[in-house]
Amino acid sequence: MKNKLKVLRAERDWTQAKLADALEVSRQTINAIEKGKFDPSLPLAFKAARLFKLSIEDIFQDENS
């Protein structure tokens, strides 16, 4: 699964640590999601969507679609 987390974070000038705090996960988890090494659960994806005021599809895209 691809995602725009890194771009969205950069646009807001947030660090990985700040985003991790906001989503209540570790900085390592944010790093793994950004690198595509870990796919977040649906609740975490919804949480990210709410944080960025976007839809889930605006942040996460299925690589097979």
Binding site: D21, A22, T29
Partner: protein
């Protein structure tokens, strides 16, 4: 799902703080359990001269502290985020599987007298600890 998200600087360090607290709590109860284990093993010989009542109390105390440690560990695992939980789950699965297979092979070696020493349960505990540490390390590295 409707929880409010705060992105201010001092916002949700509470999550990390909570994790630090549960980790510290787990360390504390693990230390208590280890100390009670030492007391149970060495107390009868070096402190109370094999007094049966005190030995039983020490064993029960060790059991109770062990159970408390398990409960605190569950709370600690529940406090981790989803990726950390997955790493822990994988590490626990690998540890359980490998320890079962290797432990029984080790026991077989003892039963058929292919090793000159006894297959002690402490060897298995050390093996489990090392396997768990290695699996956790590899798990963490794979998500870097």
């Amino acid at each position: 799902m409707n929880d409010k998200i705060d992105t201010s600087e001092n916002a949700t360090t509470t999550w990390q703080q909570k994790n630090k607290n549960t980790t510290a709590k787990l360390s504390m109860w693990t230390a208590f359990w280890v100390l009670s284990m030492a007391l149970t093993n060495f107390g009868p010989r070096f402190i109370w001269d094999f007094n049966l009542t005190l030995t039983i109390i020490a064993i029960l105390l060790n059991l109770a502290l062990g159970l408390k440690m398990v409960v605190v560990n569950i709370a600690h695992l529940k406090g981790l985020d989803e990726m950390q939980q997955r790493i822990q789950l994988n590490a626990m699965g690998i540890t359980l599987g490998i320890s079962l297979v290797v432990g029984l092979t080790y026991s077989n070696l003892d039963v058929v007298n292919l090793i000159s020493f006894h297959a002690e349960i402490s060897h298995l505990v050390i093996f489990m600890g090392l396997t768990y540490l290695t699996a956790t390390y590899i798990g963490n590295r794979s998500y870097r």
